[in-house]
Symmetry: C2
């Protein structure tokens, strides 16, 4: 029997994390009798005076939002990271180590209207969001080592407010995941003289099997080592280390790929597609004065849906205690996404 | 201001994974307006002829279950791991590495009745389950490198059938998580001459702050580095490397701690408490002939609920792309669990 990746289970290596994942494509055949998610049935209203993220609304802490007409950034009223906290005592015991964590958390609303998500925004409006991300990274990155910019979209992804927004958590420390990525990208760079993700992007552009879309400056792929069913990565064609390195043209073309990939996502199951997404690049703070050429700026989308708008992939049991496992190949997912229309399903008459 | 771990954010180190987690206890104060889970409102019937896990029922592949009266083990009808698969081709490219994965997946029903979960089983019945786990580990471990024994409980944890059962996935490879644990436990053993988790158990028994319960042979703690709100670890007092090393007395006392911790869990929010749990010990297969003294057999419970039977902790955005984060300290969680009654809420009249 010849090996067929769409039929036969195998392992794939993730060089960013130096870890493996299990691909079991034959598993898509099993019937599903487990949990079925609610789909967001109620339409989100354009404006809801009781929603603390809306223009002019009152937030739980009494602050009143301005009547903003574009993006709107404020400090999270219930931040996981505060700037001014006492330090824990040092301990000599290797099993009970704690360390100081300082930081700040911000929220950014993308648009004044609660029902305008990224795929239905104009390229101009998305470019405004990109500029706001870059502004924040500049400000927060001057002081902090890591600025996590991420969007939790959909109640199923722990998003507690339907108004389109993202969060920015800036910290005095390099969190675990980027720390591991820093180590592995550095090793690769030292060995091969080229950044891991630049090398990777080039090969995906040649191979095309996992390529979902591209434009002048960017490509979107389902990574060879993807974990989530329809996970994608946005990569630059030029070596960009950080969000702050983008030139104006690259911002506009980034807006284009954001609009196109989120539109495809919504079209996949004809639903406002839930995900956690984030922007990752070279660390900031003290790293701004260091050699970080091994880093490549990239975006990551981790969407949970697997079979339909209501059946998700659960990362539990085996995945939690042993190793990530997926039920369709990266190539199958890329093929599906690539062939989806780039016109949002709510705006067509079909 | 003096440092108070129940008030002030800090980082904690997980020596098993060589990683850090962010503890933000002040975050429990934020209001929650996000997703609310369904609680399992319908009672599970004792017997349902349409449920493929029940005694005498017909499974989707046509097989008929025996009229089992105790535990019942069979090969998963839709296994993620098969024994006989062709090998992927070798590649020289460090960015596109795949490897062969062989294995088998089994399912074990704990009890003939669908409404009898572990906390309401007798010590004898739980001991029977423990013996069945050990039998399976002996058989599968003779051939396979890793046997993941895990229970996904509750629809919220991806469990697709309410009949109390667990799974066993045996593989020809050492999955990523145990591989990292193997490396870090080995390093610790080489440096300190004692297994990491034996050292750890001793200190938790002295300190008592994170101790939930204990008996002659076992203790249950909320690990210092716990990620899930009410995560716990079952540890032996004697150095046991694998499930198969237990003597008869230790099986009965293990049944006792399983009954007590799962009862406390159900009592916490007066609901059949969802979790993913697993048993971990030294690898098997070719490792059976190697020195694995750095390994300590242990059990892990990862339960998602945070505030109530319907409000869970989401591991999204920051946790997915940066670092694990928790909203109450391990000591606060241990205190809560320690003080809960050990009589199941459904069996008392209060
Ligand atoms: O085999 P089950 O119980 O249907 O499936 C469940 O457990 C598996 C192992 O943790 C996961 O891969 C699945 O996502 C989950 O739904
Ligand atoms: O701050 P939010 O949006 O209410 O909270 C959400 O995102 C956070 C960061 O990923 C997570 O820690 C929370 O579990 C999640 O519910």
């Amino acid at each position: 029997m010849e090996f067929d990746p769409t039929e036969h289970q195998h392992l794939r290596y993730n060089p960013l994390f130096d870890s493996w994942i299990l691909v079991s494509p034959h598993r898509c055949k099993r019937p599903w009798s487990g949990q079925v998610e609610k789909t967001a049935t109620e339409e989100v209203p354009e404006f809801d005076p009781g929603n603390p993220l809306c223009p002019g609304a009152i937030r739980p802490n009494g602050a009143v939002n301005p009547k903003y007409e574009s993006t709107f950034v404020f400090t999270n009223d219930f931040p996981a990271l505060l700037e001014d906290v006492p330090e824990p005592e040092k301990s000599d015991d290797p099993l009970f180590q704690s360390a100081v964590a300082k930081g700040t958390c911000k929220v950014m609303c993308f648009h004044p209207k609660s029902n305008v998500t990224l795929p239905v925004m104009t390229i101009d409006e998305i470019t405004t969001v990109i500029n706001a991300w870059i502004d924040e990274l500049k400000k927060l990155g001057a002081k902090y080592t890591w600025v996590a910019i991420f969007e939790n979209k959909g109640a199923i992804m722990g998003c507690s407010n339907p108004h389109p927004h993202c969060q920015m958590w800036a910290s005095s420390f390099l969190p675990s995941d980027p720390r591991i990525k820093d180590i592995n990208q550095r090793k690769y760079f030292e060995k091969h003289g080229e950044p891991l993700l630049m090398h990777y992007a080039k090969k995906e552009l040649e191979n095309k099997e996992r390529l979902v879309l591209q434009n002048e400056h960017w490509l979107v792929v389902v990574p060879y080592w993807a974990v989530w069913p329809y996970e994608t990565m946005i990569l630059p064609k030029r070596h960009v280390q950080r969000f702050t390195d983008l030139v104006d043209d690259e911002k506009v073309t980034l807006a284009d790929v954001i609009k196109r990939i989120t539109t495809k996502y919504d079209n996949l199951f004809q639903v406002s597609f839930p995900y956690s997404m984030g922007w990752l690049g070279a660390p900031t703070g003290e790293y701004l004065n260091q050699d970080t050429r091994h880093w490549v700026f990239h975006g990551l989308y981790n969407p949970p849906l697997l079979r339909s708008a209501t059946v998700r992939k659960f990362m539990v049991g085996y995945e939690m205690l042993a190793q990530s496992q997926r039920d369709l190949t990266a190539e199958q997912a890329a093929d599906k996404l690539r062939n989806l229309p780039e016109v949002h399903y709510t705006t067509t008459n079909q």
